[in-house]
Each structure stands twice: as structure tokens, then as C-alpha cells.
Amino acid sequence: MLLQALAFYLFAFVTIAAGAMVVASRNPVYSVLFLILAFFNAAALFLLIGAEFVAMILVIVYVGAVAVLFLFVVMMLDIKVAELREGFLKYAPIGSLIGIVLLAEILLALGVFGGGSPTIATLNQAGAHVGSVENTRAIGRVLYTQYFFLFQSAGVVLLVAMIGAIVLTLRRRPGVRRQRVAEQLYRPKDQAIAVVKVPTRGGVS
């Protein structure tokens, strides 16, 4: 138990410190790397409460895919560090407002303001499925029965977002010669190979 408590405080401290460094560090590449560190420690916190599936998904999706793209973009940008600092105070009120709203939402979900907690009721419902069943199976049972339509519509929303991004960035350029692999593969032998009898010192015309 002591070890677990120590691990919790270590991961929690690193998460918060890395989160602070995301905002505070001067170099945007460092910011992304600290963000990755924060994601990773959050995953470790999930592991500590026994939510192994969520922890792994967090690492796969956020660390393995989203943050790679962040890093990709930030590394390619030519950013002047000094200019970045100027906007800091201008955006600070908006940032803290968003932070306060998120905090209030979490407190509301936990039922701090009274009126019971819908989230905890849902958790208990899910917990009824858990018991001896492993984590992944328990999540699957709730997600694919009770919340099936919400789950599916979340997928549709993401699909629409993806198609939207493709439509926005698609440029049709005329005169581009594309490789047509199927055509190349279906080309018959007599069109591809010519057997030529070459006379000595004559060469192939």
C-alpha cells in the first residue's frame, strides 16, 4: 500500500509538473515533449486505479498517434520564440476561464454541488458488470449495449470530421501523371518485352 501511495504521488506530481511546463517552456518542441510526458503519467495513474484498458488506449491514441502529429507539425514550423511570449498575457484570461469551466464540470460530475452524481451512478452500473470479469470485457459490455448508439454516433462524428479535413485540403492539380499500378500489372508480355536481334555494331534503334 505504501509503495502504491508513493507511486501515485510520483506520477501525480510529474503529471502536474509536466503540464505546467507545457505552458511555461519557451521552446514549443519542449512543450509537446512535456505534453507527452504528462499523457504518459496520466496513463500510469489510470493503471494504479486498475483501469488498464483505458491506460493502454491513452498511450496508443494520444502518445502514439496524436502527439506524434503535434510534434511533426511543431518541428516543421519556423517559430520565433520571442514573438510567442508576447501573446502569453493576452491569452491568459481566456485560458484560465476554460480551465475554471473544466474544473467546475468535473466537480459537478462528482456531485460536489449536491444533487447526487450521475457519473458515479453510471460507474456503479458499470461496476456491477465487473466483478470477476476483466476490465476490457466490462467496458465492452457497457459500451456495446447500453451506450451503443452514442458510441456509434461518436464514430460517425469522427468520420465526418475526417472527411471534412480531407475535403478542405484536397487540391486537384491538372497535368499530374500518376502511377497506375493495376495497369502496369495487367500489361501483357508482348507489350512489355521485345525480343530484338541486334546486328553487331548496329545497336538498337
Binding site: F53, M56, V59, V63, G64, V68, F72, M75
Partner: protein, 345 residues
């Protein structure tokens, strides 16, 4: 006395820590030796393909060559370019090496021979293998060199693309098993060698292997370090020990992906013929043999195939593998559902 010892190692925190440390060493040390001899085997196989002899001077048949190479790298000077970001430059090879090693915690070597028998083993492997890209991309950026950066960008795009199809392959296998635990994946393939998943999921096995080549930046997908265009890609500025860490990490990754292939498709530690003389051979030997045969195909491809063009590589990943693996996933799910074969029901 004996009972006391057992009590100490199973209940006391210090004893448990010693056991965990010993387990880690028992996996890491043979793995590093395997990496060393993998480089030797690689060179010998290419040499045979090209009708050469390969390393044959240091030790009998050149068997001590990998250690001579390692010692040489250890003794060389570590050069950090003056305009490089020193901290990140040195962290990058460590990340590559570490991610290649920590994945082995969940690999089952034989029945019950696994450091951490966790329920989300497949997801853990997938998560850690998706971290490998950071070592490369950070190395490319921190080197502050055009070649290194271009190599890192290529590598990142390539690894992210092929992870998608590997993900679908993993999902298909776990549909057939009904569990994310790697030991259960192996146990689900019990029986003759045609019960292993390589036959029922043959297209997925092929896709997995080709994606594994792309994930480890091996020929024909070694564009990130294609020497004709990018010197040595993201490794251009590295020398001495940091280079050695990259090198070890790469080979450890190759062995890991071969181990993954054997666990998912070749029945892990299972013997191909489930009868008496063959089942006496310990599972770990079968497992090592399966890994070695997959690694041989890695070297064979490297000695045989020319390099892909970058747009062809992307086309193969997104336009060929992704639709095929997605389609096969739906097909598998349909067969399991309507054939009444859903596991764990």
C-alpha cells in the same frame, strides 16, 4: 531454512524486488546476446546471398565479431554536434533502446514464463511499439541536420502509417482469441501446426510481416536511412555509444516483432506436432526457433529486394493494407458471429 527463503522471496518486499530484478536480467541478458548474434547472422546470410564469406576473422567462423564491434563502439569518442540540442540528442537513443526492451515484459516464453502476465498484453505491446517512433523523431530534430531531419520525418510518417494495419491485424487475432492476454493467445492455438492462426488468418500474417518490415525500417522499406540519398538518415550525426544504442534498439525491435509474429500466428511456445517426442522439447526452444525463422526471412528480404519508392510505400500502407485488413477484420467478425464460433460465450 528452505521454507524461510521461499517466504522471504514471496512475501518480503526486498525479496520480491530481488526476484523482479532477477527476472528482468534473465530476459535482458539473453536478449542482448541474441541481438549480438542476430547482427552476425544477418551479415552471414547477406554474405551467402551475395556469394561472399562474411565475417570470418575474429574467433572461430568469426563468431566473436559482434563483441569486437561492440567493444569498438564502446571505445570510440562520443561526438555531439556543436549546434545540436545536447540533452535531446542523447535522450533519443535511450528512448529507442528502452522501448525495445520494456516490451519484453509481457512476452510469454513458455507456459507461465512471463514477467508480467497482464490482461491487456496485446495492447501493451502495441502501445510500446508506437512509442518507438519518438526516439527517431527526437534524434532527427535534435541533430540539427538536414539529412537527420528528413530521415526522421520519413520514418515517423512510415511508422504511423503501418501501425494502422498492424492494429487491425491485432484486433483480428484478438477477435479469434477472445482475450488480450498473450498467454491466452498462445493457448487458443493449441494443437497441430495447422491450428495456429497463420493458416486461418493467412492474409493477415502476410500483412503483419510486411508491416513489421516497415515498422523496423528494414529493406525494402529502409527509406529513413537510405544511404544513397540521406547518408544514414536520423543516425547521421551519431557515433560511439549513442549509435550503438540505436543499433541495439533496432535489432531488439526486430526480434520483438518476430516474437509478436510467433505468438500471434505461429503458436508461441507450442510444438508443431502435439505428440510425445516433440512435446518433451521445452516450449522456449520452439519459441526461439520460430523467432529465428522469422528473423531469417527479415535478413533474406534485405539481401534480395530493392528499396521501395516513398510514394509507393505510402500507397501500399494506406491504399492496399488498410482496406484489406479492415475487410478481413469484418469478414472474421462475421464468420465468428454467424458461424457460432465467438470465443468465451
Amino acid at each position: 531454512m528452505y521454507a524461510d527463503l521461499i517466504h522471504f522471496f514471496t512475501t518480503h518486499w526486498l525479496g520480491q524486488a530481488i526476484v523482479i530484478l532477477a527476472e528482468c536480467l534473465a530476459v535482458t541478458v539473453p536478449l542482448l546476446v541474441a541481438v549480438a548474434y542476430m547482427t552476425y547472422a544477418d551479415r552471414k546470410i547477406w554474405a551467402s546471398i551475395q556469394l561472399r564469406r562474411g565475417p570470418n576473422v575474429v574467433g572461430p567462423f568469426g563468431l566473436l565479431q559482434p563483441f569486437a564491434d561492440g567493444l569498438k563502439l564502446l571505445l570510440k569518442e562520443t561526438i555531439v554536434p556543436s549546434s545540436a540540442n545536447t540533452v535531446l540528442f542523447l535522450i533519443a537513443p535511450m528512448i529507442t533502446f528502452m522501448t525495445a526492451l520494456i516490451s519484453w515484459a509481457v512476452v510469454p516464453f513458455s507456459d507461465g514464463w512471463v514477467i508480467a502476465n497482464i490482461n491487456v498484453g496485446i495492447l501493451y505491446l502495441f502501445a510500446i511499439s508506437s512509442l518507438g517512433v519518438y526516439g527517431i523523431i527526437i534524434a532527427g530534430w535534435a541533430s540539427n541536420s538536414k539529412y537527420a531531419f528528413l530521415g526522421a520525418l520519413r520514418s515517423a510518417a512510415q511508422m504511423v502509417s503501418y501501425e494502422v494495419s498492424i492494429g487491425f491485424v491485432l484486433v483480428t487475432v484478438l477477435l479469434c482469441v477472445g482475450s488480450l492476454n498473450l498467454s491466452k493467445v498462445v493457448l487458443a492455438q493449441a494443437g497441430w501446426f495447422w491450428n495456429w492462426y497463420w493458416l486461418p488468418l493467412l492474409p493477415m500474417f502476410v500483412i503483419f510481416f510486411i508491416s513489421a518490415l516497415a515498422e523496423t525500417n528494414r529493406t525494402p522499406f529502409d527509406l529513413p536511412m537510405s544511404e544513397a540519398e540521406l547518408v544514414q538518415g536520423f543516425q547521421t550525426e551519431y557515433s560511439s555509444m549513442p549509435f550503438a544504442l540505436f543499433f541495439l534498439g533496432e535489432y531488439a525491435n526486430m526480434i520483438l516483432l518476430s516474437a509478436m509474429g510467433s505468438v500471434l500466428f505461429l503458436g508461441g511456445w507450442m510444438s508443431p506436432i502435439p505428440y510425445a517426442p516433440f512435446t518433451y522439447i521445452p516450449g522456449v526452444v520452439w519459441f526461439a526457433l520460430k523467432i529465428a525463422s522469422l528473423l531469417f526471412v527479415f535478413s533474406w528480404t534485405k539481401g534480395t529486394l530493392p528499396r521501395y519508392r516513398y510514394d509507393q510505400l505510402m500507397r501500399l500502407g494506406w491504399k492496399v493494407f488498410l482496406p484489406i485488413s479492415l475487410g478481413w477484420l469484418v469478414l472474421t467478425a462475421a464468420v465468428l458471429q454467424f458461424g457460432g464460433l465467438v470465443p468465451g460465450k
